[in-house]
């Protein structure tokens, strides 16, 4: 267990960075921040899994509902809109790491451009998700049961809970991206100090990973 600890090793060199921290304590702080982020993401895994498991079990016991759902998804724009949205989210993840790459090369302007693009694509994702929800509601797939729901009366909550919870994460991510851009504008990141960008990246990529799973489980299978 001791080899898994976050203790500073005696062999670490002692140098000072731009903030006056010793190099050892700076890298220790960086690693602690990243570890804390991973712990947070682990808790998110559990929350999303509960929603996904609820959907999977419902799907298993209600194949006729899923058949009808896929029929509805095949109507325009349906699956094509969601596929485009998936591609946009994947592209936003790519923009995110390209931004990180720019600040690692000490190019804050490049960082702002790429993270700005990430925020833009995240916003487009949310807008398209709103369009998709509107279409779904017109087809009788609503959050709450009403007369128009019919066969989908128990499906709506199971569909909207994981996808909307994910959408809420995208909205938080967009706001976070704008915060990162603002910090970059104020010169708070450099090639020596970009942990704020990296932590945001971990969150954003996690949101992307969750969507990769949701897209296949809910829309394709």
């Amino acid at each position: 267990m001791s080899e898994m600890s976050l203790q500073q090793t005696p062999a670490a060199p002692v140098r000072r960075d731009a903030h006056g921290d010793t190099h050892g304590s700076h890298s220790q702080r960086v690693q602690n921040l990243k570890f804390a982020t991973w712990l947070y993401l682990a808790s998110e895994v559990v929350i999303f899994s509960v929603l996904i498991a609820t959907y999977v079990v419902f799907r298993l016991h209600n194949p006729e509902v899923m058949e009808l759902f896929h029929e509805k998804m095949n109507e325009w724009p349906g699956i094509w809109l969601v596929s485009l949205n998936t591609f946009i989210l994947l592209a936003s993840s790519w923009a995110m790491v390209m931004g990180l790459r720019q600040i690692q090369r000490n190019n804050p302007q490049g960082l702002m451009r790429w993270i700005g693009l990430t925020a833009l694509m995240g916003t487009v994702f949310v807008v398209f998700q709103y369009v998709e929800y509107t279409e779904m509601a017109h087809k009788g797939i609503t959050l709450y049961y009403d007369a128009a729901s019919g066969i989908f009366k128990d499906f709506g909550m199971r569909f909207y809970a994981p996808t909307a919870f994910h959408g809420a994460h995208v909205i938080v991510g967009v706001l976070w991206a704008l915060y990162v851009v603002n910090n970059a504008r104020k010169g708070r990141y450099s090639s020596q100090n970009y942990i704020g960008v990296e932590v945001f990246g971990l969150y954003w990529h996690f949101v992307d990973v969750v969507w990769i799973v949701l897209f296949t489980l809910i829309y394709l299978i």
Binding site: Q8, G24, V30, A42, V56, H70, Q104, S191, H205, F206
Partner: protein, 126 residues
């Protein structure tokens, strides 16, 4: 486990190069990527994005063109897991970060997968 350290601080300290961009981390990819022994003039992040896009097109084609059932569902699940693994490995830097981070992610993933599989075999009404 004994021959490979799981101490993030030790990892960072041993690979740190002050003065070199990105010295606090280990993620500073080149402008070229080697795929199957061939060098491509694109950073690894872009190559991964192209692979992710291609796999997504393949997944949608499978779902739309091939009747569901048989091998298509396991195949789509496999592609999805592969895409998720690519993002976690390259974009979230688990390929170069501490193994402790990988363990932190894998423990809940394995637990909830087992729990979900259990729930799937519980008959309706229980």
């Amino acid at each position: 486990m004994a021959d490979k350290t799981m101490t993030p601080a030790a990892d960072a300290a041993s690979e740190a190069q002050p003065g070199v961009p990105g010295y606090v981390g280990t993620h500073y990819p080149d402008d070229t990527t080697t795929v199957l022994g061939r060098q491509i003039n694109l950073p690894v992040y872009t190559v991964v994005f192209i692979v992710l896009g291609t796999l997504t097109v393949l997944e949608v084609a499978l779902a739309e063109l091939v009747p569901r059932g048989g091998l298509t569902i396991p195949l789509m699940l496999l592609i999805s897991l592969g895409k998720a693994a690519l993002v976690v490995w390259f974009y979230m830097h688990l390929n170069s970060d501490s193994r402790l981070f990988a363990v932190t992610l894998l423990v809940p993933v394995v637990m909830v997968t087992l729990a979900t599989l259990f729930l799937m075999i519980v008959p309706v009404g229980y």
